[in-house]
Amino acid sequence: MKRLLALMLVVVMCAAVMVSCGNKDDGNTLKIGGIGPITGSAAIYGQAVMNGCKIAVDEINANGGIGGMQIEFNFQDDANVAESSVNAYNKLMDWGMDILVGTVTTTPCISVSAKVYTDRVFALTPSASSTDVTKDKDNMFQLCFSDPNQGTGSATYIAANMADKKIAIIYRNDDAYSQGIRDTFAAEARAKNLNIVYEGTFTEDTATDFSVQLTAAKSANADLIFLPIYYQPASVILSQAKTMDYAPTFFGVDGMDGILTMENFDITLAEGVMVLTPFSSDAEDDLTKNFVKKYKELYGEVPNQFAADGYDCIYAVKAAYEKAGCTKDMTRTDLCEALVKAIKEISFDGLTGQDMTWSDKGEVNKMPIAVVIKNGDYISAEAAE
């Protein structure tokens, strides 16, 4: 009896193994997976990326797909938590994912990128910007600026356009994203002789009250506050600064994007906030106009930078796939090696930049632009002047 039971268990195990192998490909679809926060405090990013990706996938599928294959797109929620992100990744691997577009936020992406490296899956993150994401992983690429680029880019922009401002920095020192940008910003600001008069920090636990940091910045006469943080604490900072009658120029990076679509947020608070971003929804080129129109029709709001990042990711994958001349019968590993080689050879034009190229380190090269929030819309800084 026992032997029979053991035999049955063995049969079940073998069957399970075969089923999971058999999951990989019926040959006619290219399975692209995505991971990002659909819920949680960073939900706006994940939702925007997912929506942007879907628009690109639908366009490509309507035009005959990639290499004769239709794209199947599966986006999993990680709530901006590293453990959930790894679980979501495992789920996508069971589903038979060929290529990963993700993950959206930095801290989870650092965990997932380690798995991506050992499993040899080609991955392109739309927005996880830390260098730790790509460090020592030859098959992990970024479509967004890396943190050093955002920090130095911001400092360069401020030095070129408002060099005489007294700068305060408020950043979150228990977050790799925020700390990373602050470090490179401070280094570049020193090199450019910018005047940093105050630096204040907060952590996840103290992200509700900024009155002390703002009072200190105000009494140091800061007239520009650099906020390398996500939009949720930024919204609290804006409202507390208003109750204090303190109105410096607020300067954010890509994490500030999304503040305008926060539920119940008073958008007048964000008037005049500057954001360094590679995407501006009022750009006049056909690609942007077409994307903004489609996005508004489908989701009822103006797309932010993350939506554009997601859209570009899918097209960048397509460009690399076609450059490498990949075929249907390639395994996940072969696909990965081919794409790693090809993405470094292409020059890609997308919503978030012209002539984007990728380096051996996995970083992207493109030009940042500054946008200003006016009447609840992003417009480019030059247009606002």
Partner: protein, 293 residues
Amino acid sequence: MLEFLSYLISGISLGSVYAIIALGYTMVYGIAKMLNFAHGDVIMVGGYVSLLAMTSLGLPTWAAILLAMVVCTVLGVIIEGLAYKPLRSAPSLAVLITAIGVSYFLQNSALLIWGANPKVYSPIIEGTFKLFDGKLPISYISMLTVSVCIVIMIGLTIFTSKSKMGKAMRACSEDKAAAQLMGINVNKTISLTFAIGSALAAIAGVLLCSSYPTLMPTTGSMPGIKAFTAAVFGGIGSIPGAFLGGILLGIIESLAKAYISTQLANTVVFAVLIIVLLVRPAGLLGKYVPEKV
């Protein structure tokens, strides 16, 4: 000087929020002798209920607060009846773990019902009162929080020392068995304590969210822990102690942020707590009761 005053005011407004939460903690602890870790999450529920009452139902502010109080009271009594009452004679560790379980239950239910997207709370009163030509702004909401806190503190003190029900509560807190022998319905008394504690949590929720206007399912947990610290600091079980502990904790946190380092603020707060507990193990205003053998 003006800066110092303004840091002090930030500290007092932060402290008054801790104090109002600590009052609920300390009352339940003082009478039921249990740490209700779900208190912070009842506050979060109070915040959501009042926000929805104001935005979706369009109720006036006073009605929204009243509704939040009613919902939280009912919730508190249900929690007590289902989760804590069956464990009345169980070891206190079991009740503690149950309380943590209830806390997670409430957070995750809120996640399911209201989603995890942070909501921006509309404060019940806006505007600031300005001193010295507008150089020293004090928001009306912090003034309101401090006054409400003092009113509740005095109210609770009078209630527990003068009213019949209050006396029954104190009797239960000293010796449950003896209180029962004197004809006090211990179960009912403890349920009433939870009802009052939860109604206070609703008020605390409205004030917390008005001062720091983002609302998430985890909104209550960190202030809850800080308020618990404040209650221990002031002497857990002591009602004026909770008030004093909360205000002091807020001021220390704010001054440490301003003059020592924003990175070390929490370290300083807890270092002060450890020193106070080393010198006065029962907290600032707590009574030291030797263990009866």
